[in-house]
């Protein structure tokens, strides 16, 4: 026992089985979001390279964000072959916890995430679900912080090297949002 504690073993790495279908859904508001077509092109290229079957929808209303996720869930649950992974990209204006549809109405992100959880999407149960959200979560702007504080300042290209205010942290909660911790 003592020897075991002083000689920790490397983790046994277990990986998700990715041999089944890989399905991706991208919902993107392009109106008043210049540059979003370049993002859609880049994502299409990425999904092709990573062997995802990709579906993209432009300019969904708030209600359509919800409906398209539900259609995606139904397609996954009725997929003929085993499904290995779902990848969802949501791009729109937003605020914390909400996305703005093309119609200016807001949709709650939590309601979108619910659609593919282990309770509501049987075919994705215990399978990885990746969500990428490109949207504002508030109005604050981060000027960054100088690395090294007042004493040691790294200079790159004649300017102090700065980093964003919120990096280098790992937040690990004992339970997910809204649930009891035992």
């Amino acid at each position: 026992m003592e020897e075991e504690m002083s000689n920790p073993r490397p983790l046994q790495e277990e990986a998700y089985d990715m041999s089944g279908a890989r399905l991706a859904l991208t919902l993107c508001v392009t109106k008043a979001r210049e540059g979003s077509e370049a993002d859609l092109d880049a994502l299409e290229r990425m999904f092709r390279q990573l062997r995802f079957k990709s579906t993209m929808k432009r300019d969904p209303t708030a209600q359509q964000f919800q409906e398209e996720l539900e259609k995606f869930q139904q397609a996954i649950d009725t997929w003929e072959d085993p499904v290995s992974c779902a990848f969802v990209v949501l791009m729109a204006h937003g605020e914390e916890g909400f996305l703005e549809g093309e119609d200016g109405e807001m949709v709650k992100l939590e309601n979108l995430f619910e659609v593919l959880n282990n309770k509501n999407c049987r075919a994705l149960r215990a399978k990885p679900k990746v969500y990428i959200i490109q949207a504002c979560r508030g109005e604050q702007r981060d000027p960054g912080e100088t690395v090294g504080g007042d004493v040691i300042v790294m200079i790159t290209n004649g300017k102090p090297h700065t980093i964003p205010t919120y990096t280098d942290a790992l937040h690990v909660y004992s339970t997910v949002e809204g649930y009891i911790s035992y």
């Binding site: 277990e14 990986a15 990715m18 540059g35 370049a38 993002d39 990573l50 990746v130």
Partner: protein
């Protein structure tokens, strides 16, 4: 977002996910590193931005 080139986040993510291989959380750490390095110009002022990653993955996820 850049009018022609798209958003810093999506473009960086696509670059890392297509050029590198490894567990997804390590790839996302690389995305964070690259974004933290970048200077974003907004209304003439330099800004910093980085993604936030929340994970409940139970295993390693390899996309490549």
């Amino acid at each position: 977002r850049h009018d022609q080139n798209g958003s810093c986040f999506i473009q960086t993510l696509v670059d890392v996910f297509t050029e590198r291989k490894g567990p997804i959380l390590e790839l996302l750490t690389e995305v964070t590193r690259r974004m933290a390095e970048a200077e974003v110009l907004q209304e003439g002022k330099q800004r910093k931005v980085n993604p936030e990653i929340l994970s409940t993955l139970r295993k390693q996820l390899y996309l490549q």
